[in-house]
């Protein structure tokens, strides 16, 4: 009797605790989104693990096991121990790590130096340089690789047609400059340098200069100030850049593909036909790197878990005087460099769309306008043979415009879903910082971002190619994958901004009995709108030119990036360049609109 009464009271107690738990909206959010992100993160991983154990008809596992279905470990054994282990695994793995590390170094050095010059010196034209510097991130990453090829390839060295440097000046760059690791890490480094620029610049801009000034008064040598004061202060930003760039560089497919470097992601595609299960193991290895980076980051930042951090509130920022000439000399150097990384590609794309044949620069040699054409834009039919490879001009090409519509749909949907879910996670985690569940949800939501895009794409392809759930080549799968991958943009942004918000503000509203929804829409969101909008803007812009994540999930003509890649691979550079222009213009228009409407933008006014 007593025992029953005790049991009932325990049950009641538990029920009451549960009800109390659910009475707080952020707990409900954490519970629901925790379940959601657990599924969207774990399920694809399990699906791909399963794929490594499955026997695939017509591939090496079927050949070695003499079976056409079932499960086996033979893929693991063959990948790690066969005579092809070096070609299929170890060399690509080494190249991948070198590429990721090299990309981090280039992006941090380049982005960090420019951030320093823009925020901490009196360099001329800072606003222009700040705006133009983020262009490589706006453009699809492999467009710089194509520009690199067009500049440096030569008949003599790469065995292709002469690029601009060889044809105009007779300069033949060495092979290590044209193909392989070096150009790949430079191109990716330039592409991701805006990350470092935004993160490090954010700290530089808000950093209290008192410490440096105190050191200067004490006659501390400049290099010592740099290494003992400045660099330690930007360490979190550097770690954040490594965190964001390492996984992205690892999972990059198009850049190493175009520049001839064998990495895990390029090898995945090469092996997939005959070594399907082994290729999936490569995807798992890439994922493991993502998990390892996250764990390392947890260890190194146990005390503060901010990734896109803005430290301090001091308004004292002393600008280093570069001297009358110095401020212009350095600015000119940066203007020239950013011309080649940001402006030249756009001019080159625009020019390419008027060439009679892909890569045919006859106009430059002859000055004869008859060596230019508008056919790539204006041709209305695809019946007549007119050197268009059966395509209509871009303005009338239904495939391109359908892809444009698809891209906008995917980008807007991903932005909305990722932005909203991420913001809610950021909000709920900030309210439960000490809760292990909150930390778990936070980490689980961030994990897909650290996993290489190709690996995430592979995992979702495998997951959604089943009998009951077959979403290949649908916008649904692109939106799901894009949302999962880009939630961290919003969750990190929201978490950082929510942590800056004192709890008293919301508590005051609670005392006034203002419902949660109203508190969010009338108080929390308006106060932190810039950060929250960034959480919507980044997924949108990243989605617009994302390829590695989506290329396995849909065909060309579905979204612009896969269409662009298709035309690039086909050698129809006029189309790929035109699509690039369309993408860049679209992103700039949206960025400007959002900036005008809300004040938020990619570079967040660092150069302002």
């Amino acid at each position: 009797m007593n025992g029953n009464a005790l049991a009932a009271s325990r049950g009641t107690l538990l029920w009451n605790r549960f009800k109390t738990f659910l009475s707080k909206p952020y707990n409900v959010i954490l519970l629901l989104l925790g379940i959601l992100v657990t599924f969207t993160t774990i399920a694809p991983i399990i699906a791909i693990v399963r794929d490594t154990l499955m026997i695939h008809a017509g591939t090496i596992d079927a050949h070695l096991t003499k079976r056409t279905s079932g499960f086996t470990f033979v893929n693991y054994i063959d990948l790690f121990t066969s005579r092809l282990a070096k070609t299929n695994l170890w060399t690509p793995l080494l190249n991948t790590v070198l590429l990721a590390v090299g990309t981090c170094i280039v992006s941090i050095l380049f982005g960090g130096i420019v951030a320093f010059l823009v925020t901490r010196t009196n360099m001329a034209w800072r606003k222009y340089i700040s705006s133009i510097f983020i262009f490589p991130y706006i453009m699809p990453q492999w467009t710089l690789a194509v520009v690199w090829q067009n500049l440096f390839n030569s008949n003599k060295i790469t065995g292709t047609a002469d690029g601009l440097l060889a044809s105009l000046f007779g300069i033949n760059m060495p092979i290590w400059w044209c193909k392989g690791l070096f150009p790949s890490l430079v191109v990716l480094g330039l592409h991701y340098a805006p990350f470092a620029y935004i993160l490090i610049g954010g700290i530089f801009k808000n950093m209290d200069a008192n410490l440096e000034e105190a050191a200067t008064i004490l006659d501390t040598p400049k290099h010592k100030i740099m290494f003992r004061i400045t660099l330690p202060m930007i360490k979190p930003a550097i770690l954040s850049t490594v965190l964001l760039v390492f996984g992205s560089a690892m999972g990059s497919y198009p850049v190493p593909h175009y520049l001839g470097l064998s990495t895990l992601s390029t090898r995945y595609f090469e092996m997939n036909a005959k070594y399907t299960g082994e290729a999936s193991i490569l995807a798992i290895i890439m994922m493991l790197f993502g998990v390892a980076i996250m764990l390392l980051n947890q260890i190194s930042l146990t005390s503060r878990k901010n990734y896109t951090t803005v430290t301090g509130k001091s308004g004292q920022i002393s600008k280093i005087n570069l001297g009358k000439a110095g401020k212009y000399v350095i600015a000119v150097i940066l203007v020239v460099v950013t011309f080649f990384t940001s402006i030249f590609p756009i001019i080159s794309f625009a020019f390419e769309t008027f060439l009679p044949n892909p890569g045919d620069y006859s106009f430059l040699y002859t000055g004869d306008a008859s060596n230019l054409t508008t056919k790539w834009w204006l041709t209305k039919e695809n019946i007549t043979e007119n050197g268009m490879y059966g395509q209509q001009g871009m303005l009338f090409n239904p495939m391109i415009w359908r892809a444009f519509g698809g891209t906008l749909l995917v980008a807007i949907a991903c932005s909305m879903f990722a932005g909203t879910i991420g913001t809610l996670i950021g909000y709920a985690v900030s309210k439960n910082r000490r809760s292990k569940w909150a930390n778990y949800v936070n980490s689980m939501a961030f994990l897909p971002y650290l996993m290489p895009s190709v690996a995430v794409g592979v995992a979702f392809f495998v997951l959604f190619s089943g009998e009951k759930l077959n979403l290949y080549n649908t916008y649904t799968i692109l939106i799901i994958v894009g949302t999962v991958k880009y939630i961290p943009f919003a969750s990190r942004s929201a978490l950082n901004s929510m942590l800056q918000l004192s709890g008293e503000i919301e508590e005051a509203a609670i005392i006034q009995n203002i419902p949660w929804f109203k508190r969010m829409t009338r108080i929390i969101i308006p106060i932190q709108k810039t950060s929250i909008i960034s959480g919507y803007l980044l997924p949108f812009m990243t989605c617009l030119r994302e390829l590695s994540l989506f290329m396995l999930l849909c065909v060309q003509g579905f979204i612009l990036s896969t269409t662009l890649d298709y035309f690039d691979e086909m050698g129809l550079y006029a189309f790929s360049s035109g699509i690039n222009l369309i993408l860049i213009v679209t992103i700039l228009i949206f960025n400007t609109l959002v900036n005008k409407a809300t004040g938020a933008s990619l570079d967040s006014g660092i150069g302002g």
Partner: protein, 449 residues
């Protein structure tokens, strides 16, 4: 402990459904129980096109047809097919969507599609006989339909014919830039020391790997051996060490006496070719005046789309096999095959479409208007040539003459006395994919000077 239990429960909830259907991948239907699509095909193979067309109209009027193919031109052929059916029934309407996956994804796409009880794709146009055999046909995912008139034109019947249905054979041929004085008069010239031909990487376009497999077949090994004998003493001396070095491998792989020539050519080619993303860029490179002495192995038809300009010309190119005195293989050929998925939602319409493009000049026109693509229907091939005059097209082309555009036709290309085209044989490719194929994968690809 409780936490561990919760974690395990969560994992189990996620894992179990995923592994649940582990071993139940679609298996081929037993021979005695024909699927609905196979039953349709059996009837369709006995019908004339007009009868088939009526069945297609009944089945698909007002519906949507999904096709998937390695060639984007299915999209161009479908409107002509629909227009033809509308000639029979003016009220006929068919919406369509034609997809062209890249990166070998067509096989994954068709495999995923096969898991559904009723698939999405009604019809497919697919290349790479090796993978078709091992992944699509042996697994029962795709069914072959042989149109009545096609069979008649080839002097056979659907019952007697045992292969797949090729829509066309495409050729990739050796072409070289002729703005310099260098000539290539033997297929071994392309693998001499210092030569680096442009070629789509064999790991990104698998039919290129099939070409290398086929070189080890006795017929083509003999052609290589014969071409080797025609080389000068100096050239032979440069190549002989490689041939000697692979002789024991050829024996181990069970190749015939000429197999060592095949392996030597393959080794020298893989270790020297310059990988390019597609045939289009190869063509764009080779036609430039600055590409002196470069060569490539690429789809012949790409040349057609080159526009003349100050530094680009179709006359900057020569087709190696067309030059007097050329010895040895002139390139390779592979097929675009037509199949009906075993769970096709519109099997009658698929069969009618396949019959239309393999029996009618208009149906084949999406491909037939180009050089370098040869219909498998001899009557259609003749009619197509009469309509498009590919054999003399280069002489009359605007801005011509362009001798390289004068296509000598399928019979010339495949003959021992003509182009010595190496033709893909799916069964042979599948049989050596893990012997010769693994040997090829051990070679170190060229990565630049």
């Amino acid at each position: 402990m409780k936490k561990l239990a919760v974690v395990l429960l969560v994992l189990a909830a996620v894992v179990l459904p995923i592994f649940a259907n582990g071993d139940d991948e679609k298996a081929a239907a037993p021979a005695s129980e024909k699927s609905y699509v196979q039953q349709v095909i059996e009837q369709a193979q006995k019908m004339t096109f007009e009868e088939l067309a009526k069945k297609a109209i009944e089945e698909s009027n007002g519906k949507k047809l999904y096709g998937v193919g390695n060639s984007s031109r299915g999209k161009s052929a479908l409107p002509l097919f629909i227009a033809y059916l509308q000639g029979i029934d003016a009220s006929y309407k068919l919406d369509f969507d034609w997809q062209q996956p890249k990166n070998n994804k067509i096989f994954d796409q068709l495999t995923a599609n096969s898991l559904k009880s009723e698939g999405t794709f009604a019809v497919t146009l697919i290349q790479d006989g090796n993978q078709i055999e091992s992944k699509m046909v042996q697994t029962g995912i795709l069914d072959t339909f042989i149109p009545l008139e096609w069979a008649k034109a080839n002097g056979t019947t659907a019952e007697a014919y045992t292969g797949y249905l090729p829509l066309q054979t495409l050729n990739k041929v050796f072409e070289y830039n002729c703005t310099g004085s260098k000539t290539y008069d033997n297929c071994w010239d392309f693998v001499l020391p210092g030569e680096h031909g442009q070629f789509m990487d064999i790991d990104s376009e698998i039919v290129g790997k099939n070409f290398l497999y086929m070189l080890t077949a006795p017929k083509y090994a003999a052609w290589l051996a014969s071409a080797f004998e025609a080389l000068s003493a100096d050239e032979k001396a440069a190549l002989q060490p490689t041939i000697d070095a692979v002789a024991s491998d050829a024996k181990d792989l069970g190749l015939d006496a000429n197999g060592k020539y095949s392996l030597a050519w393959i080794k020298l080619w893989v270790e020297s070719y310059n990988a390019v993303s597609d045939d289009g860029p190869i063509c764009n490179n080779l036609v430039q005046a600055s590409a002196t002495d470069q060569f490539g192995l690429l789809v012949y038809s790409k040349l057609r789309s080159v526009q003349e300009s100050a530094s680009v010309s179709k006359n900057n190119i020569k087709i190696a096999a067309y030059q007097d005195g050329y010895k040895g293989i002139g390139g390779y050929g592979y097929c675009h095959y037509m199949f009906v998925p075993d769970n096709s939602p519109l099997p009658w319409t698929a069969c009618a479409f396949i019959a239309y493009i393999t029996e009618f000049v208009d149906g084949f026109s999406a491909w037939g208007k180009d050089i370098g693509g040869y219909s498998s229907n001899p009557q259609l091939a003749a009619d197509n040539e009469a309509k498009y005059n590919h054999s003399t097209g280069g002489d009359t082309a605007e801005g011509g003459p362009f001798p390289a555009l004068n296509d000598r036709g399928y019979d010339w290309w495949v003959s021992a006395e003509g182009g010595q085209l190496v033709l893909e044989d799916p069964e042979y490719c599948a049989s050596v994919a893990f012997t010769v194929g693994s040997w090829i994968e051990m070679l170190t690809k060229y990565s630049g000077k």
